[in-house]
Amino acid sequence: MMKSRGKNVGKFFHTILKWLIGIICISPMYVAIIYSLKSKQELAVNRFALPEVLYWENFSQGIVQSNFFNALKNSFITTSLATIILTVICSMASYIIARKNNSKFYNSVYFIFVAAMIIPFQSILTPLYINLLRWGLVNSLIGFVLAKSGFQVAFTVLIITGFVKSIPRELEEAANIDGAGLYRTYWQIIFPLMKPVIFTSVVLNALNIWNDFQISVTILQKQSVRTLPLTQYFFFGENNSELGLAFAVFVLSMIPVLTLYLSLQKYIISGITSGAVKG
Protein backbone atom coordinates (compact mmCIF):
# COMPACT_ATOMS: atom_id res chain seq x y z
CA MET A 1 0.00 0.00 0.00
CA MET A 2 2.72 2.45 1.04
CA LYS A 3 4.88 1.39 -1.84
CA SER A 4 2.20 1.91 -4.44
CA ARG A 5 1.43 5.37 -3.05
CA GLY A 6 5.13 6.25 -3.30
CA LYS A 7 5.10 5.03 -6.85
CA ASN A 8 2.08 7.18 -7.65
CA VAL A 9 3.68 10.29 -6.18
CA GLY A 10 6.82 9.56 -8.20
CA LYS A 11 4.77 9.14 -11.34
CA PHE A 12 2.96 12.39 -10.66
CA PHE A 13 6.22 14.33 -10.39
CA HIS A 14 7.56 12.59 -13.44
CA THR A 15 4.54 13.71 -15.46
CA ILE A 16 4.72 17.29 -14.16
CA LEU A 17 8.45 17.47 -14.86
CA LYS A 18 8.28 16.26 -18.44
CA TRP A 19 5.42 18.57 -19.39
CA LEU A 20 7.21 21.46 -17.71
CA ILE A 21 10.34 20.77 -19.75
CA GLY A 22 8.33 20.61 -22.95
CA ILE A 23 6.63 23.91 -22.17
CA ILE A 24 9.91 25.64 -21.26
CA CYS A 25 11.42 24.46 -24.53
CA ILE A 26 8.72 26.06 -26.64
CA SER A 27 8.14 29.12 -24.42
CA PRO A 28 10.55 31.33 -26.43
CA MET A 29 8.14 30.87 -29.32
CA TYR A 30 5.42 32.34 -27.13
CA VAL A 31 7.57 35.44 -26.68
CA ALA A 32 8.03 35.79 -30.43
CA ILE A 33 4.32 35.43 -31.09
CA ILE A 34 3.04 37.86 -28.46
CA TYR A 35 5.69 40.45 -29.35
CA SER A 36 4.56 40.28 -32.93
CA LEU A 37 0.96 40.98 -31.92
CA LYS A 38 1.53 44.06 -29.75
CA SER A 39 1.71 47.69 -30.75
CA LYS A 40 4.75 49.72 -29.80
CA GLN A 41 2.78 51.48 -27.05
CA GLU A 42 1.56 48.25 -25.55
CA LEU A 43 5.02 46.63 -25.70
CA ALA A 44 6.39 49.54 -23.68
CA VAL A 45 4.13 48.79 -20.71
CA ASN A 46 3.25 45.14 -21.12
CA ARG A 47 5.83 42.72 -22.45
CA PHE A 48 4.90 39.19 -21.40
CA ALA A 49 1.17 39.17 -20.73
CA LEU A 50 -1.19 38.29 -23.55
CA PRO A 51 -1.82 41.30 -25.79
CA GLU A 52 -4.92 43.38 -24.92
CA VAL A 53 -5.54 44.25 -28.54
CA LEU A 54 -4.24 42.15 -31.40
CA TYR A 55 -2.16 44.54 -33.43
CA TRP A 56 -2.12 42.94 -36.87
CA GLU A 57 -0.59 46.05 -38.44
CA ASN A 58 2.82 44.68 -37.44
CA PHE A 59 2.31 41.94 -39.98
CA SER A 60 0.97 44.08 -42.79
CA GLN A 61 3.69 46.71 -42.27
CA GLY A 62 6.42 44.14 -41.75
CA ILE A 63 5.53 42.42 -45.01
CA VAL A 64 5.77 45.69 -46.93
CA GLN A 65 8.84 47.15 -45.23
CA SER A 66 10.96 44.02 -45.27
CA ASN A 67 9.95 43.16 -48.82
CA PHE A 68 8.86 39.87 -47.30
CA PHE A 69 7.35 38.23 -50.34
CA ASN A 70 10.46 38.83 -52.40
CA ALA A 71 12.56 37.14 -49.71
CA LEU A 72 10.03 34.32 -49.44
CA LYS A 73 10.22 33.83 -53.20
CA ASN A 74 14.06 33.79 -53.11
CA SER A 75 14.10 31.31 -50.24
CA PHE A 76 11.57 29.14 -51.98
CA ILE A 77 13.41 29.13 -55.31
CA THR A 78 16.85 28.44 -53.83
CA THR A 79 15.63 25.78 -51.39
CA SER A 80 13.60 23.83 -53.91
CA LEU A 81 16.19 24.08 -56.67
CA ALA A 82 19.10 23.01 -54.44
CA THR A 83 17.05 20.20 -52.90
CA ILE A 84 16.06 18.83 -56.32
CA ILE A 85 19.63 19.01 -57.62
CA LEU A 86 20.98 17.29 -54.51
CA THR A 87 18.35 14.58 -54.58
CA VAL A 88 18.95 13.66 -58.22
CA ILE A 89 22.74 13.80 -58.38
CA CYS A 90 23.47 12.46 -54.89
CA SER A 91 21.08 9.53 -55.11
CA MET A 92 22.76 8.50 -58.37
CA ALA A 93 26.23 8.93 -56.92
CA SER A 94 25.29 7.03 -53.76
CA TYR A 95 23.92 4.16 -55.81
CA ILE A 96 27.09 3.68 -57.80
CA ILE A 97 29.31 4.13 -54.73
CA ALA A 98 27.34 1.48 -52.86
CA ARG A 99 27.44 -0.96 -55.78
CA LYS A 100 31.11 -0.48 -56.66
CA ASN A 101 32.30 -1.10 -53.12
CA ASN A 102 35.21 -3.24 -54.34
CA SER A 103 36.55 -0.47 -56.56
CA LYS A 104 39.45 1.56 -55.17
CA PHE A 105 38.36 4.68 -57.03
CA TYR A 106 34.77 4.75 -55.76
CA ASN A 107 35.89 3.90 -52.24
CA SER A 108 38.37 6.76 -52.16
CA VAL A 109 35.74 9.21 -53.42
CA TYR A 110 33.48 8.05 -50.61
CA PHE A 111 36.27 8.49 -48.10
CA ILE A 112 36.92 12.04 -49.32
CA PHE A 113 33.21 12.83 -48.89
CA VAL A 114 33.27 11.53 -45.32
CA ALA A 115 36.33 13.61 -44.47
CA ALA A 116 34.85 16.69 -46.17
CA MET A 117 31.91 16.64 -43.75
CA ILE A 118 34.18 18.20 -41.14
CA ILE A 119 35.51 21.03 -43.34
CA PRO A 120 34.28 24.35 -41.96
CA PHE A 121 32.81 26.71 -44.53
CA GLN A 122 35.34 29.36 -43.48
CA SER A 123 38.22 27.36 -44.90
CA ILE A 124 36.84 27.78 -48.42
CA LEU A 125 35.14 31.14 -47.87
CA THR A 126 37.79 33.42 -49.39
CA PRO A 127 38.76 31.35 -52.47
CA LEU A 128 35.14 30.42 -53.16
CA TYR A 129 34.04 34.04 -52.94
CA ILE A 130 36.79 35.09 -55.37
CA ASN A 131 35.88 32.31 -57.82
CA LEU A 132 32.20 33.17 -57.70
CA LEU A 133 33.07 36.81 -58.28
CA ARG A 134 35.12 35.80 -61.32
CA TRP A 135 32.35 33.58 -62.65
CA GLY A 136 29.73 36.30 -62.14
CA LEU A 137 27.89 34.23 -59.52
CA VAL A 138 28.02 36.65 -56.58
CA ASN A 139 24.61 38.19 -55.88
CA SER A 140 23.04 35.48 -57.99
CA LEU A 141 20.54 32.95 -56.70
CA ILE A 142 22.07 30.33 -59.00
CA GLY A 143 25.48 31.00 -57.46
CA PHE A 144 24.07 30.37 -53.99
CA VAL A 145 22.22 27.25 -55.14
CA LEU A 146 25.38 25.77 -56.69
CA ALA A 147 27.69 26.61 -53.78
CA LYS A 148 25.22 25.41 -51.16
CA SER A 149 24.53 22.22 -53.11
CA GLY A 150 28.25 21.58 -53.48
CA PHE A 151 28.64 21.97 -49.75
CA GLN A 152 25.74 19.57 -49.01
CA VAL A 153 26.87 16.84 -51.45
CA ALA A 154 29.04 15.01 -48.91
CA PHE A 155 26.34 14.85 -46.23
CA THR A 156 23.62 13.76 -48.68
CA VAL A 157 25.74 11.01 -50.25
CA LEU A 158 26.60 9.77 -46.78
CA ILE A 159 22.99 9.24 -45.67
CA ILE A 160 21.81 7.74 -48.95
CA THR A 161 24.73 5.32 -49.49
CA GLY A 162 24.08 3.57 -46.18
CA PHE A 163 20.54 2.89 -47.27
CA VAL A 164 21.38 1.67 -50.80
CA LYS A 165 23.72 -0.93 -49.33
CA SER A 166 20.69 -2.53 -47.68
CA ILE A 167 18.83 -2.98 -51.00
CA PRO A 168 19.44 -6.54 -52.31
CA ARG A 169 21.30 -6.77 -55.64
CA GLU A 170 19.17 -9.61 -57.02
CA LEU A 171 16.57 -7.21 -58.39
CA GLU A 172 19.07 -5.38 -60.55
CA GLU A 173 20.72 -8.57 -61.72
CA ALA A 174 17.37 -9.80 -62.99
CA ALA A 175 16.87 -6.53 -64.83
CA ASN A 176 20.36 -6.76 -66.29
CA ILE A 177 19.65 -10.18 -67.72
CA ASP A 178 16.52 -8.76 -69.31
CA GLY A 179 18.85 -6.33 -71.08
CA ALA A 180 17.86 -3.12 -69.30
CA GLY A 181 20.64 -0.50 -69.24
CA LEU A 182 22.03 0.95 -66.04
CA TYR A 183 19.93 4.12 -66.28
CA ARG A 184 16.70 2.26 -66.83
CA THR A 185 17.49 -0.19 -64.03
CA TYR A 186 18.23 2.71 -61.73
CA TRP A 187 15.21 4.90 -62.39
CA GLN A 188 12.68 2.08 -62.75
CA ILE A 189 13.81 -0.31 -60.04
CA ILE A 190 16.24 1.21 -57.55
CA PHE A 191 15.04 4.79 -57.24
CA PRO A 192 11.47 3.85 -56.24
CA LEU A 193 12.92 1.56 -53.54
CA MET A 194 14.90 4.46 -52.12
CA LYS A 195 11.78 6.47 -51.27
CA PRO A 196 12.16 6.55 -47.47
CA VAL A 197 15.76 7.74 -47.53
CA ILE A 198 15.01 10.20 -50.34
CA PHE A 199 12.25 11.71 -48.20
CA THR A 200 14.63 12.00 -45.28
CA SER A 201 17.37 13.64 -47.30
CA VAL A 202 14.89 16.03 -48.92
CA VAL A 203 13.54 17.17 -45.57
CA LEU A 204 16.93 17.52 -43.88
CA ASN A 205 18.43 19.36 -46.84
CA ALA A 206 15.41 21.62 -47.24
CA LEU A 207 15.56 22.61 -43.56
CA ASN A 208 19.29 23.23 -43.77
CA ILE A 209 19.14 25.30 -46.97
CA TRP A 210 16.08 27.25 -45.84
CA ASN A 211 17.82 28.21 -42.59
CA ASP A 212 21.25 28.88 -44.11
CA PHE A 213 22.90 32.12 -43.11
CA GLN A 214 26.65 31.56 -43.34
CA ILE A 215 26.91 30.82 -47.04
CA SER A 216 24.11 33.15 -48.13
CA VAL A 217 25.48 36.13 -46.21
CA THR A 218 28.71 35.71 -48.18
CA ILE A 219 27.18 35.29 -51.63
CA LEU A 220 23.87 37.18 -51.56
CA GLN A 221 24.59 40.75 -50.59
CA LYS A 222 22.19 42.81 -52.73
CA GLN A 223 18.72 43.36 -51.31
CA SER A 224 16.91 41.95 -54.34
CA VAL A 225 18.45 38.49 -53.88
CA ARG A 226 18.21 38.20 -50.08
CA THR A 227 16.65 35.07 -48.65
CA LEU A 228 14.50 35.04 -45.51
CA PRO A 229 17.33 34.64 -42.95
CA LEU A 230 19.24 37.50 -44.61
CA THR A 231 16.12 39.65 -44.64
CA GLN A 232 15.66 38.97 -40.94
CA TYR A 233 19.28 39.87 -40.32
CA PHE A 234 19.19 43.21 -42.11
CA PHE A 235 15.62 44.08 -41.17
CA PHE A 236 16.37 43.50 -37.50
CA GLY A 237 19.50 45.62 -37.72
CA GLU A 238 17.40 48.50 -39.05
CA ASN A 239 14.34 48.03 -36.82
CA ASN A 240 15.88 47.46 -33.44
CA SER A 241 13.34 49.80 -31.84
CA GLU A 242 10.33 48.53 -33.77
CA LEU A 243 10.25 45.21 -31.95
CA GLY A 244 6.70 44.28 -32.88
CA LEU A 245 7.48 44.75 -36.53
CA ALA A 246 10.72 42.74 -36.39
CA PHE A 247 9.05 39.88 -34.56
CA ALA A 248 6.11 39.81 -36.97
CA VAL A 249 8.63 39.14 -39.73
CA PHE A 250 10.24 36.40 -37.59
CA VAL A 251 6.92 34.72 -36.93
CA LEU A 252 6.02 34.80 -40.61
CA SER A 253 9.28 33.15 -41.57
CA MET A 254 8.86 30.49 -38.88
CA ILE A 255 5.57 29.29 -40.35
CA PRO A 256 6.92 27.39 -43.39
CA VAL A 257 9.60 25.58 -41.36
CA LEU A 258 7.24 24.63 -38.58
CA THR A 259 4.69 23.37 -41.09
CA LEU A 260 7.35 21.26 -42.76
CA TYR A 261 8.52 19.92 -39.40
CA LEU A 262 5.10 19.08 -38.02
CA SER A 263 3.93 17.36 -41.19
CA LEU A 264 7.13 15.42 -41.97
CA GLN A 265 8.43 14.89 -38.44
CA LYS A 266 8.73 11.13 -38.96
CA TYR A 267 11.29 11.54 -41.75
CA ILE A 268 13.35 14.10 -39.85
CA ILE A 269 13.58 11.89 -36.79
CA SER A 270 14.37 8.72 -38.74
CA GLY A 271 16.98 10.56 -40.78
CA ILE A 272 18.73 11.90 -37.73
CA THR A 273 18.79 8.57 -35.95
CA SER A 274 19.97 6.54 -38.95
CA GLY A 275 22.65 9.11 -39.74
CA ALA A 276 23.86 9.24 -36.16
CA VAL A 277 24.12 5.50 -35.71
CA LYS A 278 26.41 5.27 -38.71
CA GLY A 279 28.38 8.44 -37.98
Binding site: F113, S123, F250, L258, I272, A276
Partner: protein, 292 residues
Protein backbone atom coordinates in the same frame (compact mmCIF):
# COMPACT_ATOMS: atom_id res chain seq x y z
CA UNK B 1 39.29 -14.57 -81.22
CA UNK B 2 41.19 -11.30 -80.91
CA UNK B 3 38.27 -9.53 -82.45
CA UNK B 4 36.00 -11.00 -79.86
CA UNK B 5 38.29 -9.75 -77.09
CA UNK B 6 38.33 -6.23 -78.57
CA UNK B 7 34.60 -6.26 -78.53
CA UNK B 8 34.57 -7.28 -74.89
CA UNK B 9 37.03 -4.51 -74.07
CA UNK B 10 34.85 -1.91 -75.75
CA UNK B 11 31.79 -3.09 -73.86
CA UNK B 12 33.62 -2.97 -70.53
CA UNK B 13 34.92 0.51 -71.27
CA UNK B 14 31.47 1.67 -72.19
CA UNK B 15 30.09 0.14 -69.02
CA UNK B 16 32.58 1.92 -66.80
CA UNK B 17 31.85 5.23 -68.54
CA UNK B 18 28.15 4.77 -67.89
CA UNK B 19 28.90 3.94 -64.27
CA UNK B 20 31.09 6.99 -63.90
CA UNK B 21 28.35 9.18 -65.33
CA UNK B 22 26.32 8.35 -62.21
CA UNK B 23 29.01 9.80 -59.97
CA UNK B 24 30.10 12.65 -62.21
CA UNK B 25 27.54 15.43 -61.50
CA UNK B 26 27.85 15.12 -57.71
CA UNK B 27 31.62 14.82 -57.86
CA UNK B 28 31.91 17.80 -60.23
CA UNK B 29 29.79 20.03 -57.99
CA UNK B 30 31.78 18.96 -54.94
CA UNK B 31 35.14 19.54 -56.63
CA UNK B 32 34.14 22.89 -58.12
CA UNK B 33 32.64 24.39 -54.97
CA UNK B 34 34.44 22.64 -52.11
CA UNK B 35 37.63 20.78 -53.01
CA UNK B 36 39.04 23.22 -55.57
CA UNK B 37 38.55 26.34 -53.38
CA UNK B 38 39.96 24.41 -50.44
CA UNK B 39 43.17 23.65 -52.37
CA UNK B 40 43.32 27.19 -53.77
CA UNK B 41 43.20 28.47 -50.23
CA UNK B 42 46.54 26.91 -49.32
CA UNK B 43 48.76 29.20 -51.49
CA UNK B 44 46.63 32.24 -50.50
CA UNK B 45 47.50 31.58 -46.86
CA UNK B 46 51.18 32.21 -47.62
CA UNK B 47 50.56 35.70 -49.01
CA UNK B 48 49.84 39.17 -47.70
CA UNK B 49 46.86 39.53 -50.05
CA UNK B 50 44.17 42.03 -49.00
CA UNK B 51 41.38 40.30 -50.92
CA UNK B 52 40.93 43.11 -53.45
CA UNK B 53 44.06 44.28 -55.23
CA UNK B 54 46.40 42.51 -57.64
CA UNK B 55 49.24 43.30 -55.29
CA UNK B 56 50.17 39.92 -53.83
CA UNK B 57 53.43 39.02 -52.17
CA UNK B 58 54.50 35.67 -50.78
CA UNK B 59 55.38 36.01 -47.13
CA UNK B 60 56.27 32.41 -46.33
CA UNK B 61 55.10 31.21 -42.95
CA UNK B 62 54.75 34.72 -41.54
CA UNK B 63 50.92 34.55 -41.34
CA UNK B 64 51.14 31.25 -39.49
CA UNK B 65 53.68 32.53 -36.99
CA UNK B 66 51.92 35.82 -36.50
CA UNK B 67 48.54 34.44 -35.43
CA UNK B 68 49.90 32.85 -32.28
CA UNK B 69 50.96 36.22 -30.90
CA UNK B 70 47.83 37.99 -32.25
CA UNK B 71 45.64 38.69 -29.25
CA UNK B 72 42.50 38.82 -31.42
CA UNK B 73 43.19 35.30 -32.65
CA UNK B 74 43.90 34.03 -29.14
CA UNK B 75 40.73 35.76 -27.93
CA UNK B 76 38.60 34.29 -30.73
CA UNK B 77 40.04 30.83 -30.11
CA UNK B 78 39.30 30.91 -26.41
CA UNK B 79 35.76 32.25 -27.04
CA UNK B 80 35.12 29.45 -29.51
CA UNK B 81 36.46 26.78 -27.16
CA UNK B 82 34.34 28.03 -24.24
CA UNK B 83 31.26 28.00 -26.44
CA UNK B 84 32.03 24.53 -27.77
CA UNK B 85 32.62 22.96 -24.35
CA UNK B 86 29.38 24.35 -22.88
CA UNK B 87 27.41 23.38 -25.97
CA UNK B 88 28.77 19.81 -26.08
CA UNK B 89 28.46 19.10 -22.35
CA UNK B 90 25.05 20.61 -21.64
CA UNK B 91 23.29 19.65 -24.89
CA UNK B 92 24.32 16.05 -24.25
CA UNK B 93 23.53 15.98 -20.52
CA UNK B 94 20.13 17.61 -21.00
CA UNK B 95 19.41 15.58 -24.13
CA UNK B 96 20.15 12.36 -22.28
CA UNK B 97 18.10 13.44 -19.28
CA UNK B 98 15.09 14.31 -21.47
CA UNK B 99 15.48 11.03 -23.35
CA UNK B 100 15.39 9.05 -20.09
CA UNK B 101 12.23 10.90 -19.06
CA UNK B 102 10.27 10.25 -22.24
CA UNK B 103 11.88 7.22 -23.90
CA UNK B 104 8.85 5.01 -23.35
CA UNK B 105 6.63 5.28 -26.46
CA UNK B 106 3.29 6.83 -25.57
CA UNK B 107 0.99 9.52 -26.90
CA UNK B 108 1.95 12.14 -24.35
CA UNK B 109 5.65 11.35 -24.67
CA UNK B 110 5.40 11.81 -28.42
CA UNK B 111 3.85 15.23 -27.97
CA UNK B 112 6.56 16.25 -25.50
CA UNK B 113 9.25 14.99 -27.85
CA UNK B 114 7.78 17.15 -30.61
CA UNK B 115 7.83 20.16 -28.27
CA UNK B 116 11.44 19.67 -27.17
CA UNK B 117 12.66 19.11 -30.72
CA UNK B 118 10.85 22.12 -32.22
CA UNK B 119 13.64 24.69 -31.56
CA UNK B 120 16.00 22.61 -33.68
CA UNK B 121 13.96 23.42 -36.79
CA UNK B 122 14.24 27.18 -36.36
CA UNK B 123 17.13 29.03 -37.91
CA UNK B 124 20.06 29.84 -35.64
CA UNK B 125 19.50 33.48 -36.45
CA UNK B 126 15.93 33.48 -35.25
CA UNK B 127 16.90 31.63 -32.08
CA UNK B 128 19.55 34.24 -31.36
CA UNK B 129 17.14 37.18 -31.79
CA UNK B 130 14.39 35.67 -29.68
CA UNK B 131 16.81 34.85 -26.88
CA UNK B 132 18.31 38.30 -26.98
CA UNK B 133 14.92 39.59 -25.84
CA UNK B 134 14.32 36.80 -23.39
CA UNK B 135 17.59 37.80 -21.72
CA UNK B 136 16.91 41.52 -21.70
CA UNK B 137 13.15 41.55 -21.09
CA UNK B 138 12.50 38.41 -19.06
CA UNK B 139 15.76 37.65 -17.24
CA UNK B 140 16.51 41.30 -16.56
CA UNK B 141 13.06 42.89 -16.79
CA UNK B 142 11.20 40.31 -14.71
CA UNK B 143 13.80 38.38 -12.69
CA UNK B 144 16.38 41.14 -12.34
CA UNK B 145 19.24 39.00 -13.69
CA UNK B 146 21.34 41.12 -16.09
CA UNK B 147 21.55 39.80 -19.63
CA UNK B 148 24.69 37.71 -20.07
CA UNK B 149 25.05 39.11 -23.59
CA UNK B 150 26.05 42.51 -22.19
CA UNK B 151 28.72 41.12 -19.89
CA UNK B 152 32.20 40.32 -21.22
CA UNK B 153 32.61 37.46 -18.79
CA UNK B 154 29.27 35.78 -19.44
CA UNK B 155 28.57 36.51 -23.07
CA UNK B 156 29.90 33.19 -24.43
CA UNK B 157 27.91 31.24 -21.84
CA UNK B 158 24.81 33.24 -22.80
CA UNK B 159 25.31 32.41 -26.47
CA UNK B 160 26.07 28.76 -25.73
CA UNK B 161 22.82 28.54 -23.78
CA UNK B 162 20.92 29.45 -26.96
CA UNK B 163 22.72 26.64 -28.78
CA UNK B 164 21.92 24.21 -25.96
CA UNK B 165 18.24 25.17 -26.14
CA UNK B 166 18.25 24.44 -29.84
CA UNK B 167 20.44 21.30 -29.90
CA UNK B 168 19.42 19.42 -26.71
CA UNK B 169 16.35 18.23 -28.63
CA UNK B 170 18.59 16.84 -31.34
CA UNK B 171 20.68 14.88 -28.83
CA UNK B 172 17.52 13.68 -27.15
CA UNK B 173 16.16 12.19 -30.38
CA UNK B 174 19.37 10.22 -30.94
CA UNK B 175 19.42 9.02 -27.31
CA UNK B 176 15.77 7.97 -27.42
CA UNK B 177 16.47 5.80 -30.45
CA UNK B 178 19.48 4.26 -28.68
CA UNK B 179 17.53 3.59 -25.47
CA UNK B 180 14.63 2.05 -27.36
CA UNK B 181 17.10 -0.25 -29.08
CA UNK B 182 18.24 -1.83 -25.80
CA UNK B 183 16.82 -5.33 -25.37
CA UNK B 184 14.29 -5.60 -22.49
CA UNK B 185 16.00 -8.76 -21.25
CA UNK B 186 18.90 -6.77 -19.82
CA UNK B 187 16.50 -4.83 -17.62
CA UNK B 188 14.69 -7.99 -16.59
CA UNK B 189 17.98 -9.52 -15.48
CA UNK B 190 18.72 -6.25 -13.69
CA UNK B 191 15.39 -6.44 -11.86
CA UNK B 192 16.07 -10.01 -10.76
CA UNK B 193 19.49 -8.96 -9.47
CA UNK B 194 17.79 -6.17 -7.53
CA UNK B 195 19.32 -3.21 -9.33
CA UNK B 196 18.12 0.21 -8.23
CA UNK B 197 17.40 2.97 -10.72
CA UNK B 198 20.94 4.40 -10.61
CA UNK B 199 22.57 0.99 -11.06
CA UNK B 200 20.22 0.27 -13.96
CA UNK B 201 21.40 3.45 -15.63
CA UNK B 202 25.08 2.98 -14.85
CA UNK B 203 25.43 -0.69 -15.74
CA UNK B 204 22.79 -1.24 -18.43
CA UNK B 205 21.67 1.97 -20.16
CA UNK B 206 24.95 3.90 -20.22
CA UNK B 207 27.12 1.14 -21.74
CA UNK B 208 24.46 0.32 -24.32
CA UNK B 209 24.13 3.88 -25.63
CA UNK B 210 27.90 4.33 -26.05
CA UNK B 211 27.80 4.70 -29.85
CA UNK B 212 25.08 7.36 -29.57
CA UNK B 213 27.22 9.33 -27.09
CA UNK B 214 30.21 9.16 -29.45
CA UNK B 215 28.10 10.31 -32.40
CA UNK B 216 26.47 13.20 -30.51
CA UNK B 217 29.64 14.47 -28.86
CA UNK B 218 31.64 14.40 -32.10
CA UNK B 219 28.93 16.13 -34.11
CA UNK B 220 28.21 18.86 -31.56
CA UNK B 221 31.92 19.44 -31.16
CA UNK B 222 32.17 20.35 -34.82
CA UNK B 223 29.00 22.49 -34.66
CA UNK B 224 30.38 24.27 -31.62
CA UNK B 225 33.75 24.96 -33.20
CA UNK B 226 32.12 26.43 -36.32
CA UNK B 227 29.82 28.80 -34.38
CA UNK B 228 29.05 31.91 -36.44
CA UNK B 229 25.34 32.74 -36.67
CA UNK B 230 24.58 33.21 -32.95
CA UNK B 231 27.22 35.87 -32.19
CA UNK B 232 26.68 37.55 -35.59
CA UNK B 233 22.99 37.97 -34.80
CA UNK B 234 22.86 38.46 -31.05
CA UNK B 235 26.01 40.43 -30.22
CA UNK B 236 27.94 41.21 -33.45
CA UNK B 237 30.95 39.93 -31.55
CA UNK B 238 30.55 42.37 -28.66
CA UNK B 239 30.78 43.78 -26.07
CA UNK B 240 34.12 44.87 -27.52
CA UNK B 241 35.36 41.73 -29.22
CA UNK B 242 34.49 39.48 -26.31
CA UNK B 243 32.19 37.20 -28.33
CA UNK B 244 34.12 37.16 -31.59
CA UNK B 245 34.61 33.54 -32.69
CA UNK B 246 37.22 32.07 -35.04
CA UNK B 247 34.64 31.70 -37.82
CA UNK B 248 33.73 35.39 -37.44
CA UNK B 249 37.38 36.43 -37.40
CA UNK B 250 37.97 34.67 -40.75
CA UNK B 251 34.87 36.30 -42.22
CA UNK B 252 35.99 39.68 -40.87
CA UNK B 253 39.48 39.30 -42.32
CA UNK B 254 37.99 39.00 -45.81
CA UNK B 255 35.18 41.55 -45.69
CA UNK B 256 36.07 44.04 -42.94
CA UNK B 257 39.78 44.06 -42.14
CA UNK B 258 41.02 43.30 -45.70
CA UNK B 259 43.56 40.71 -44.63
CA UNK B 260 42.43 37.79 -46.80
CA UNK B 261 45.82 36.07 -46.79
CA UNK B 262 46.07 36.16 -43.03
CA UNK B 263 42.43 35.09 -42.68
CA UNK B 264 43.07 32.12 -44.94
CA UNK B 265 46.02 31.03 -42.79
CA UNK B 266 43.73 31.15 -39.75
CA UNK B 267 41.14 29.16 -41.71
CA UNK B 268 43.66 26.42 -42.44
CA UNK B 269 44.85 26.16 -38.85
CA UNK B 270 41.16 26.17 -37.85
CA UNK B 271 40.34 23.29 -40.22
CA UNK B 272 43.28 21.21 -39.05
CA UNK B 273 42.35 21.80 -35.40
CA UNK B 274 38.76 20.69 -35.97
CA UNK B 275 39.99 17.56 -37.75
CA UNK B 276 42.43 16.69 -34.99
CA UNK B 277 39.99 17.47 -32.17
CA UNK B 278 37.19 15.41 -33.77
CA UNK B 279 39.56 12.54 -34.42
CA UNK B 280 41.04 12.48 -30.90
CA UNK B 281 37.67 12.80 -29.18
CA UNK B 282 35.90 10.18 -31.28
CA UNK B 283 38.88 7.80 -31.03
CA UNK B 284 38.91 8.03 -27.25
CA UNK B 285 35.16 7.75 -26.91
CA UNK B 286 35.15 4.67 -29.16
CA UNK B 287 37.83 3.07 -27.03
CA UNK B 288 35.75 3.73 -23.93
CA UNK B 289 32.64 2.24 -25.53
CA UNK B 290 34.28 -1.15 -25.20
CA UNK B 291 35.50 -0.67 -21.65
CA UNK B 292 32.19 0.54 -20.20
Amino acid sequence: MPRHRDCYGVIMKKKSIVEFSFLFPALALFILFVLYPFIEGIPISFTNWDGLSDNVKYVGFRNYVRMFSDRHFVNATSNTLIFMVIEVVFSNLLGLFFALLIAKPSRSNNIIRTMIFTPFCLSLLLSAYVWKYIYSDFFYGVLGIPSPLGDKKWVMAGLANIAVWRDAGYCMVVYIAAIQGISKEYYEVGDIEGCNIIQRFRYITLPMIGPAITANVTLLLSWGMKVFDYPMAATSGGPGRSSETVAMLIYGNLFTYFKAGYGQAIAIVFTISIFLLSFIVSYNLRKREVEL
